[in-house]
């Protein structure tokens, strides 16, 4: 075991805590950006916003209930709707137990959706990507090992996503799950009412309050982390690294699912600019072009056919959106061209090209 004792005893455990906090913060930024995109399309897509809210509220309520169950407070009522969720405990606990159940409520929604996807991934990608690597117990060793673990997992996860076979029912189901989870990693509350604004600052304020309100508990939590790290050293099995690496994986899963949702929200945003029934064309093009690509590659096989099919599908949809957006027609355009309009006699009227609904 290289490294000074001071490094191992004091600084080494902090490496992973900082690492996880960093990823969690990046996740928070992506969530904030997703909320911004949702607010951009909210006027035209109420149902989508409500759906996104519901998924978010569902996870939050489940986490809250989980918090009460773990702290043995019990659950007396469980209410969930599209805009609001509420869980009441049977016994009102104070102290550490109250703090723990609050921690579940505030932090749980960031990790629970990722955990569900991780469980699915265990059956879909090679188990080699889940191996935990560790080289030593110093601050730098921990940081490097943490980075390697995240890199290994990310490369496995992203290579799976880039070669995903959408004609495989399980893969298709996984992608849908990833999108649904991405939609609701945190509730947006962009609903019918202007409820209390729940943004990144609100989350951070809550967490800060939770920390400052009971600093002793935070100290206890850090102490437990240190003890966990020392036990890992004693048994020479870096469980500490495994635990924090898994938390890092959850953040990576969440970030990837948020990026995919961003792409979908972008598609929705741009197709909104297209008028009439033509706005459906980019959506229809996605399954049609993918199936066509796969059919062509079935008869003329090439390497990386899944990835190329995916790329071609994305390219076709993007191209359609650009072309259709450029051919935007004027709502107030007349049915007769301008020259003929000038020649219209007295009493003759032009008919509007589009009849605006009364």
């Amino acid at each position: 075991m290289d490294g000074s004792p001071l490094d191992i005893i004091i600084f080494a455990p902090l490496a992973l805590i900082f690492g996880v906090i960093l990823f969690w913060f990046i996740q928070l930024l992506f969530i904030e950006s997703q909320k911004y995109f949702l607010s951009l399309i909210s006027h035209n897509h109420d149902a989508l916003i409500r759906f996104s809210n519901f998924i978010g509220v569902l996870f939050q309520t489940i986490c809250h209930a989980l918090g009460y169950t773990v702290t043995k407070s019990g659950i007396s009522s469980f209410f969930i709707s599209v805009n609001y969720g509420k869980v009441s405990p049977k016994k009102v606990r104070k102290g550490v137990l109250e703090w723990t159940s609050n921690a579940f409520l505030f932090i749980g929604p960031f990790f629970i959706p990722g955990l569900l996807i991780l469980i699915c991934l265990l059956f879909l990608i090679n188990s080699d990507y889940f191996l935990i690597y560790y080289s030593g117990y110093t601050f730098s060793d921990n940081f490097i090992s943490f980075g390697i673990n995240l890199y290994n997992f990310s490369s496995g996860f992203l290579s799976f996503l880039s070669t995903i076979d959408l004609l495989h029912p399980v893969h298709l189901g996984f992608l849908l799950l990833l999108i649904i989870m991405g939609m609701g990693i945190r509730p947006s509350f962009i609903g019918e009412k202007n409820q209390e604004k729940v943004d990144m600052i609100y989350d951070l304020k809550n967490i800060r309050y939770n920390i400052l309100h009971k600093p002793v508990y935070i100290f206890l939590l850090i102490l437990i982390s240190y003890v966990f790290f020392y036990i890992s050293i004693l048994i020479d099995n870096n469980l500490y690294m495994a635990f924090f690496s898994i938390l890092g994986w959850l953040s990576i899963i969440s970030i990837v699912s948020l990026i995919i949702t961003h792409l979908i929200l972008l598609l929705i945003k741009f197709t909104d600019n297209i008028e009439g029934i033509k706005k459906l064309l980019p959506y229809i093009s996605i399954p049609v072009s993918y199936v066509l690509c796969r059919l062509v590659f079935f008869y003329y096989p090439i390497p990386y056919l899944n990835s190329i099919s995916l790329l071609l599908t994305i390219f076709t949809a993007s191209l359609l959106v650009i072309l259709l957006s450029k051919k935007k027609t004027n709502k107030f355009k007349t049915k007769i061209d301008m020259d003929s309009l000038l020649k219209l006699g007295k009493g003759q009227r032009d008919e509007p090209k589009r009849i605006i609904r009364k």
């Binding site: 409500r50 759906f51 519901f54 709707s81 599209v82 004609l167 495989h168 029912p169």
Partner: protein, 294 residues
């Protein structure tokens, strides 16, 4: 609605139909059929397990067993055996067609196509059923019309509505539709949930020597009626609910209004008495004047 069907001073407020997603219970039967058909098609033709499915009877057995199991579970959960019978019918249809097929090796292709075709027909029937519903909300009554072949109609005056039950599922909350059940004074719009349990005890090894049966039942009256007799999956739910509730409130006399009516009656009686007294007094005055003149 034909103008001739309207009553005197009747004005139509809204003409409604159920939301396309309001019959998701029925549509989900078709969605499952499509999903399972596609999975079977993939499993038999493209998956890494395709070598296990060389026997065509294994394919149809697996397909049928899963359909039956899901049918039984869904029927038990919803207490509607028609789900089981629907899947059973689909399975029997598939089995008979397979028997008639000369080339049984093509069953791996036939089953997915058959499932998807049946589902599409199912979707069309559900859509036809949905479109057969028509709800007319006027200022005097609600008219419920429906029926694909046999036409049914229910007319409900607002003053006959005693209670309004409304419900909105998750899909309804997302897409802003919901069901409103107006319960009439006769109890139209109420259904009964029945649940019962029985337990048997057998003592004796070879023959039944003693048999005891214990049972219990529970009945619960709940707002439930056919989709033709309720405002099923109406959109926008909140607005429609408000209209109906306002109309009901407008035609029901409240306690305060009853007191006001009684008070006004009292006032009218007093005024009548005063009028009679004045008349009497006038008559007496007239008589006394005549007497004086005489």
């Amino acid at each position: 609605m034909n103008q001739n069907e309207l009553l005197e001073n009747e004005q139509i407020e809204k003409i409604l139909s159920p939301h396309p997603l309001s019959f998701m219970g029925l549509q989900s039967l078709c969605i499952f059929l499509i999903t399972w058909g596609v999975i079977i098609g993939w499993l038999v033709n493209f998956s890494e397990f395709k070598d296990y499915f060389l026997n065509p009877w294994l394919i149809i057995s697996l397909w049928g067993i899963i359909l039956m199991v899901v049918g039984v579970i869904a029927s038990l959960l919803t207490i509607r055996w028609r789900i089981f019978f629907f899947y059973f019918g689909v399975f029997i249809g598939g089995l008979l067609t397979t028997l008639l097929l000369e080339n049984s090796e093509s069953i791996g292709v036939f089953i997915p196509f058959y499932s998807v075709s049946i589902s599409i027909i199912g979707f069309l029937i559900v859509e036809l059923y949905r479109r057969s519903h028509k709800y007319i909300i006027s200022n005097q009554r609600i008219i419920f019309k429906g029926g694909v072949i046999t036409k049914q109609e229910r007319t409900l005056r607002y003053d006959k509505i005693t209670d309004i039950n409304s419900k909105q599922g998750i899909l309804g909350q997302i897409f802003s539709f919901g069901t409103i059940i107006p319960i009439s004074q006769s109890g139209f719009g109420l259904g009964i949930d029945k649940s019962s349990a029985a337990a048997g005890v057998q003592v004796g090894e070879k023959k039944v020597k003693f048999l005891g049966l214990f049972g219990g039942g529970k009945e619960l009256q709940t707002p439930r009626t056919r989709s033709y007799y309720e405002l099923h999956g109406v959109f926008p739910y909140k607005e429609i609910k408000k209209i109906v509730e306002n109309q009901v409130q407008g035609s029901v006399i409240t306690n305060y209004q009853q007191e006001q009516v009684a008070f006004q009656k009292e006032q009218v009686d007093i005024q009548k008495q005063m009028r009679d007294l004045l008349k009497k007094q006038n008559k007496q005055n007239d008589n006394s004047e005549i007497d004086e003149k005489i």
